[in-house]
Symmetry: C2
Subunit: 367 residues, 2 copies
Amino acid sequence: MKAIAVRPGKPNSVHLADIPEPHLDEVQGGRGVKVRVLRVGVDGTDKEINAAEYGAAPPGQEVLVLGHESFGRVEAVGANVTELFPGDYVVATVRRPGSSIYDRIGLQDMTTDDIYFERGISLRHGFLSEFYVDDAAFLVKFPSGLKEIGVLLEPTTVVEKGIHQAYEIQRRLRVWQPRRAAVMGTGTIGLLAALVLRLRGLEVTAFARSPKPNPNARLMEDLGARYIATPERSVLDVAKEEGGFDLIFEATGASTVVFDSMLALGKNGVLVLSSVTGGDRRIEVPADRINLEFVLGNKVMVGTVNAHRDDFERGVKDLAQAEAQYAGWLGRLLTHPVKGLENYARLFETLVSARGAIKVFCQVADF
Amino acid sequence: MKAIAVRPGKPNSVHLADIPEPHLDEVQGGRGVKVRVLRVGVDGTDKEINAAEYGAAPPGQEVLVLGHESFGRVEAVGANVTELFPGDYVVATVRRPGSSIYDRIGLQDMTTDDIYFERGISLRHGFLSEFYVDDAAFLVKFPSGLKEIGVLLEPTTVVEKGIHQAYEIQRRLRVWQPRRAAVMGTGTIGLLAALVLRLRGLEVTAFARSPKPNPNARLMEDLGARYIATPERSVLDVAKEEGGFDLIFEATGASTVVFDSMLALGKNGVLVLSSVTGGDRRIEVPADRINLEFVLGNKVMVGTVNAHRDDFERGVKDLAQAEAQYAGWLGRLLTHPVKGLENYARLFETLVSARGAIKVFCQVADF
């Protein structure tokens, strides 16, 4: 069958591969599920793997099939699969268990192992192919009525995990009631973070560089969030004038913003770091002040990566609520479809260079 | 009665004051407790208040009685005090409730108010006097068999709160089992942090500037902790060679150490910031790397100040266990007693300039 793959370690090696179609019995205990792939989103991770910054093929193989943001339909299930049926729409989680104590209880998103097993990223093939097979334990059922936006579930789970971790951490405060949130960055993750926070009733201020008007600012405002262009007013300006934020979700990929955000938290505030900063940037920071404010204000900063199966379940509920509350909004994130695995070159060109892209994805097959 | 007080705002104003003896009925509802003060520890906060860096007298008064690390004996109790009797030894908590939702449920250590009410620090008299009166709700009974080290309870609560917050936060990991801890700094707080972590079974490495041998290093080693002099080997060196730490307790007062500590955490690690850095120091940090490691390792940083009543209760239990396990160790922290409130000048001179001081305290009255 067709698949989009790279040769890990070789820059710009993305190509159309021909790989064997997977079989149900590749999963033991009758728990296999065969899924026809319908759509797969691509993001910075795919770009970086194709640039050979990281990524690893499954043991003994030369290529790695890309794609970790999946959406598909069940074709067949093993004898012991009770929770899914052919025809069901599903999204697969990404990381597979290693050996740490966290992996052993289904918390592989919190693994302490040095080696990760991640579909489409590290040591396991991804979903940019006609079919895939996986254990039912790693598949999350998705409502058929929302299938048009199903490919947004995986990026939503990044946000769900970060916000859930913040709330878990703040249980220590017993009566934490966050009201004011800031979202740093208005890319896919920033937009989805604002959505999830708005659904929880928080007032959201989004910060990004581009002046208004711009489509992402409009998307923020259509959620009832405020959009501020940082050249005019920074998160520190706003914190100084209006008070610090209860929750800040950082999704810019710029580490300078991380340190500004530390100073824009209110007392008992929590800063969620979700963006990957692969560079080597060093900056000067007001070290005494950052420490002092964290101490005197009982503040927290937490890093978050990957997502738990429960974050996928929470994501399904939030996407459903979003469609009910902000009808059509999620569909507006699906800016750049590319039809067919064979158009891999255009898929990656769009990913790398399309202006105004929010979500670039491959339409592998029709619904 | 005699008291040691300052005129807030006036540097070096510490003096012996004559103030009215407090009465039980200053507390409403028959919940008052009158306490004879036996010992009061002093620390950097007292030094900074006497330097007029902060501190505020009670409304309508010109002086602030100093002292927040108390130890005393109950003289008399109001009609509705059931939990304390005359003759009981007690330690008072420091912060009194303001008006935020946290204050209203006894979590004034997590207040979001801008104004603090803290005995001996802000708007409330401290304990450096012959007697004090307070509500029974703010007094914690201390075992008579441990009275010699009772004055160490309040500093211990700083450590108890920080470590408790770390464990509360890590409940999100469900099976967190920290094994390797680092303690930055070997002053009173660093020593007590190492003690509390050792009592919880963690392997502890303490980092400080002074080469071995020195008394604080010896104290660390007597707990079974390892002492490393940072000019020889930094926390980053150790993390690189032996792996990152599960928990780091920062108690140096040097913000450069804070940022080094961020990079010395292991996956799922937690960094507890407890030291006050009042300066204006700016430093250059590897911003991309700090953010990246927090994100990929699901790491947490938390600031902590003040302590909850429960932290005092936990402190009592830990001090009792410490005496049972490391007999005599706590007594060795009581390096510099100064007898009598009238010797306030020597008390402060010792606090400011004594070499090798761990705990400087005033013996206000005999047991």
